[in-house]
Amino acid sequence: MSLIPDPASFRDPAGRIFTKDRRIFRLVSHQGARNYQIVRDTKFISKMAGLDKIIETLEANPSIIDDPSLNPHYVLEHPRLPFISYPYEWCFPMLKKAALLHLELQLQALDEKLMFSDASAYNIQFKGTRPIFIDSLSIQPYREGQVWEGHQQFCEQFLNPLLLRSLLGVTHNAWYRGNLEGIPSDELSKMLPWYKKFSRNLFLHVVLPSRLNNLAKNEKADSLSSMNHKLPKETLTKIFTQLSSWINGLKPRSSSNSTWGDYASIHCYESNEVTEKQKFVSNFIQKTKPETVWDLGCNTGEYSEVALKSGANYVIGFDYDQVALEKSFERAEKNSLNFLPLFFDGANPSPDQGWNCQERKSFLSRKNADAVLALAFEHHLAIGRNIPLDQLIDWLLNLAPCGVIEFIPKEDPNLKLMLRLREDIFDNYSEDSFRNILEKKCRIISSKTISKTKRVLYWFEKPTS
C-alpha cells in the first residue's frame, strides 16, 4: 500500500505526516532537519516519551519511503493512537488537563533550551484519560530573548474556552467546533463583565493582548520592530508558571441545566433491573470480544466500565450532557479506565471540516468500533429529534458489526416526560415496529425485557457479506 498524506498535516514545512499500512510516519524535510537534530540530541523527546507525555518517536529507515519525489531528510515513526479526538469534543476537565500538559512541557523544554513553535490544542491527544503531545517537530531550539509565539494560540485554544465555562457558565464545544481555532480573545473580552477585567491574569492574558492588537495595527511596521524588546527567560518561566497555577484553579461554573448528570441516582430502574442490564452487556462483550467499543449516550460511563471489565480493550463514550461527561471522565480517572468520553450530539455529530473539508475528520470517518452500545439512547433521536426509526436503525447498524440497542417504549416515564408538552406524532414508534425493522436488517442474537416499564435490550449482529 502506498503512502497516504495526512490531510491535517500541512502547516509546517519542516515535516509532514503520512500513513502506510496503518503505520504512522513523519517525514522531516531538509528545511526541518537541522532543528530536528538539535532537539533530538537534547533527548527531551525521548525522556518525555518515557513518561508518556510526548508520543514515542523512532527514526525509521528512509528506504521505507518508496516515493522518490518526497525525498525526506529523516523518516520518523510514531505509534498509532487508539482514536483521534478534537478539543471541541472534550469536556472541561479534559481541555484543562491538555492545557496543563502543554504548559508543563513548555517549562521542561525551556530547561533544555527548547521552545514550542505553536500552542495548538490539536497537537494534544488522549489515550484514555492521559493527554499526550503528538507533534515532535513543533519543538525547536530556544533563542535567547524570544517571546512566546504561541501565547495567542494558547489563549484562544486552551485558556479562553476554559474561561468561557468557568467565568460565564458557557460551554466551549459549539463555538470551538464552528471556529476551529478556538475562542478569540477580543470576542471573549467583549462578553466579560467590566469589573472582571481588572483581575490580574484576565487583564494580562485576555484583555491586554486584544486591546494591544488594535493599538498596534495603527502603527507603522518599522516603528513596531524598532520596539522589539527581548523577553528575559525568567519572565517566560514566570508566565508559564502563573498560567499553570491559574488554570489549575479553574472550575466549571455549575450548570443547573444538566439533564443526565444525576442519571445514576435518578434513573428509573430498580436495583435488580440494573444488575440484569449489566449482565446482558457483560455477556455480550464476553461473547463478541470486541477490541474497541463505542458507547453512544454513555452518560456517566457506567456501562462503558462494565464493557471494559468484561474484556473490551478501549471504550469511546459519546454524550451531549456536559455534567455527565465530566462525571464519566472522573470515573475513568479514578478507576484508571481505557475510556475516552467525548461530547457528541447524535443528530449533529462532528463533520469533516477545516481546510479542504478534510483537516478535522467527522464522527463517521473515524469509525473504528468492533461493537456499539446504544443504551437508553434511541428515544433521544427518535422522539427527541424526530429521526424516523428505520433511518436511526440504519445509522446505528452502520457504526459497528454488532452491538446492543435498548428500546424505550412510550409507557416509560422518561419518554412520557419527553412527550408531556408536545403532540405525540409518533404513531409508528412501538417495540413491534422497532423489532420488525431490526429483524429485516440484521440478526437478533437475543433480546431481554429489563424493566417493569418494558425497556428491551437487543443484541444484534450484522450479516457478514
Partner: protein, 75 residues
C-alpha cells in the same frame, strides 16, 4: 512600576480602539513585554502616547499605509 501599571490599565480599558484589519500576534507579544517589566510597559505607553498626540494634532499615523501593509508587521 505599580503606578505605571495603573495608568496602563486606564488606557487599555478606556481608550477605545479603532477597528480595521489586525495582525493577530502583535498584541500578544506586546502583552508579554508588559509582563516582562517596566521596559515593556514603556513600549506600550509610547504607543498610547502617539495615539493621544495623533488625536490632538490630527497627524496621519501611517501615510504610506495601504491595504497590504499588515503583511509587514512582525509575526
Amino acid at each position: 512600576m505599580k503606578h505605571a501599571f495603573f495608568f496602563l490599565i486606564f488606557f487599555v480599558l478606556f481608550v477605545e480602539p479603532a477597528y480595521s484589519y489586525l495582525d493577530p500576534g502583535t498584541g500578544s507579544m506586546l502583552a508579554q513585554l508588559v509582563m516582562g517589566g517596566v521596559a515593556g510597559v514603556l513600549v506600550v505607553f509610547k504607543l498610547y502616547w502617539r495615539k493621544v498626540k495623533r488625536f490632538f494634532f490630527k497627524t496621519n499615523p501611517n501615510p504610506e499605509r495601504d491595504d497590504h501593509s499588515q503583511k509587514d508587521l512582525p509575526h
